[in-house]
């Protein structure tokens, strides 16, 4: 049994704003990450997956607040750290890549300087050391020669280049954990594969643990070792990626996997209707009794509307919250 790198226990996060009831975006979530694995977090927009990512690094937006739980990283509860202790973790031991590379880089700083900032904050390097490391890093993410790119401003780069710079920033200090929130969703099809290949390469070379968040299950195929599926602030299913795709258990997971079959080109009649999950995800402010997916669920039973399903361990490494598997 390997020591877990990160353990989230019973984490709840809510946003409150004046005049409206608090929105619980993360609702009693527990999760463990092993060193070196790639975890895919799957869910629609509004499922709380981005909040989960932000809450691990304690980067919640104003109004966000922890209601319960702990986030234990290498034996320390991050939620109990002081700002300065936290700064030693962020960027050095764990870091984040955000969705839109056009917005995640400072518009008036040269990209080389932005990466150097991270090195300077954590590595205790001399100016020459910073430059050498910067060059090495840029080369490793595919910028060759690196000198030209380092002096560019973000607006002079393409979307794919910007995202590679954002990744370089995140891995500059060789963190043990990198969280990537929709790292490819703003990119063209060809670039998506490029970025995923780069992340895979980083994991292979440094043994980095990756948490990748997406609404699109297809990017996890052949990429993530394990997947968790989120719905309305909860984890509804967790399992090995292969098992999730081969035999999804929760009706929501099944529906998402079905949606992904829209990528099967060539063997489907053109202009055939897509399989859909009808309806919209619920708001997060108030939940009636019962399963949150019940209103949209094709398999709903009388019990689903009345009671919240408990999590069951259906198989080894597999958990699901659905009455179909409640023995």
């Amino acid at each position: 049994m390997v020591e877990e790198l990160l353990k989230i226990r019973d984490l709840s996060v809510a946003y409150s704003s004046m005049g409206s009831p608090p929105l619980r975006a993360v609702d009693h979530i527990s999760l463990a990450l092993n060193p070196g694995e790639v975890i895919g977090v799957l869910g629609e927009s509004g499922s709380g997956k981005s909040t989960l990512a932000l809450s691990i690094l304690r980067l919640l937006a104003a109004g966000g607040r922890y209601e319960s739980g702990e986030v234990v990283f290498r034996g320390r509860n991050l939620l109990a750290l002081s700002e300065s202790e936290l700064r030693e973790v962020r960027g050095k031991e764990m870091s984040m890549i955000s969705q839109d590379p056009a917005l995640s880089l400072n518009p008036v700083m040269r990209v080389g300087a932005q990466i150097a900032e991270v090195l300077r904050a954590h590595m205790g390097l001399s100016q020459r050391g910073v430059n050498a490391r910067l060059e090495e890093l840029l080369r490793s993410v595919g910028f060759d020669p690196p000198s030209q790119i380092a002096t560019a401003y973000p607006h002079q780069l393409s979307g794919g280049q910007r995202q590679r710079i954002a990744i370089t920033q995140a891995i500059a200090c060789n963190p043990a954990l990198v969280i990537a929130d929709e790292p490819t969703s703003k990119l063209d099809a060809g670039l998506q594969s490029e970025i995923l290949a780069l992340l895979t390469e980083i994991r292979r070379r440094h043994g980095t643990t990756l948490v990748v968040i997406s609404h699109d299950p297809t990017i996890f195929a052949g990429f993530a070792d394990r997947m968790i599926v989120m719905y309305a602030g909860r984890i509804v299913e967790e399992g090995k990626t292969r098992d999730i795709f081969r035999a999804p258990m929760h009706p929501y997971t099944r529906a998402l996997v079905q949606l992904s079959q829209r990528y099967f080109v060539g063997n489907v009649a053109s202009r055939a209707r897509f399989p859909i999950i009808s309806g919209e995800p619920p708001g997060l402010s108030r939940h009636d009794a019962g399963c949150r997916f019940e209103p949209r669920c094709p398999d709903r039973m009388p019990v689903c509307a009345a009671t919240d399903p408990q999590e069951v361990i259906a198989e080894p490494h597999r958990r699901v919250s659905c009455f179909k598997y409640d023995s």
Binding site: E44, S193, G222, Y263, R271, R273, F274, I276
Partner: protein, 282 residues
């Protein structure tokens, strides 16, 4: 003089684009805002009534330039565009206004084209007001019909469009476009910002609407695997030029240009991994 409505024969295609070219332009406007437009060269295609044509390429390939020319938001440097057999370049006055109702655009970020203080009703009503269509009462009824048709809950008729989810905002944009009974919708990356489940819902909606109204669609997208499921014909555009064009099934089955292969890569790699995963089970 290529299109003469008087000549007998098969009906003119809904839209015909012949040899469209637009050189790179950088327009400078008020307040130092400028808009740069990717160049396109010698683009030709047709869309029949009730059919879907997809123009696919990476960002900066010029696909949006074509869309903007078709909607007459830009004027081409060379080539002609015929809408229902009529050259759109010389249109003016009433003809231009009726052309503007018959062709409607839907963008990726629909909500940015909506007044943030407008309710759903006001958003849908706006084009009808501009065109001076219907009485107040009839408009209200039509708005409710449209909302039902695109699957928006009627109780949100007074809700602010900015409070809608991404999928609902796209529905709202579709309802607004439909309010003036267009014949062609230009969908410029209209599905790109949606998550997979909203995307599937909107796709089905578009398929249904096409059936009911014989709408023509010009789909602009970077996602070849998506439009492959929707389009009758597809063209792959790269650096402003169409590099591959044909019936969708043929292009997908036998991609000949590297750009087409690249655009299909994520779908192919998913298919491969997926079958590996299924295979691993046995």
């Amino acid at each position: 003089m290529t299109a003469n409505p008087g000549v007998a024969g098969p009906p003119a295609p809904r839209l015909r684009v012949c040899g469209l070219s637009k050189n790179y332009a950088r327009r400078t406007g008020i307040g130092r805002k400028s808009l740069s437009i990717a160049a396109v060269h010698d683009v030709s295609f047709e869309i029949q009534t009730g059919k879907t044509f997809a123009l696919v390429g990476r960002s900066g390939s010029g696909k949006s330039t074509v869309a903007r020319c078709v909607a007459r938001l830009e004027s081409p440097d060379a080539g002609q565009i015929f809408f229902g057999g009529t050259d759109i370049a010389p249109l003016g006055g009433r003809d231009l206004r009726s052309f503007r109702t018959e062709i409607q655009m839907i963008f990726q970020d629909a909500v940015t084209s909506m007044n943030p203080r407008f309710s759903a009703e006001q958003v849908i009503e706006e084009p009808m007001l501009i065109q001076g269509l219907l009485s107040k009462n009839d408009r209200r009824n039509r708005i409710m019909d449209l909302m039902r048709e695109v699957g928006l809950p009627l109780e949100r008729i007074d809700g602010l469009a900015t409070n809608f989810s991404g999928g609902q905002q796209q529905r709202l944009a579709i309802a607004r476009a439909l309010s003036v009974r267009p014949k062609l919708l230009v969908l410029d990356e209209a599905l790109s910002a949606l998550d997979l489940s909203s995307e599937a819902q909107i796709v089905n909606l578009l398929l249904d609407l096409q059936q009911v109204y014989s709408l023509g669609y010009l789909f602009i997208s970077h996602d070849l695997s998506l439009v492959a499921r929707l389009a009758d014909e597809v063209a792959v555009i790269s650096a402003g030029q169409i590099v591959e064009q044909g019936l969708t099934a043929q292009v997908i089955a036998n991609p000949t240009h590297p750009q087409t292969v690249e655009l299909l890569a994520p779908a192919r790699s998913f298919q491969r991994s997926y079958s590996e995963m299924l295979g691993a089970a046995e």
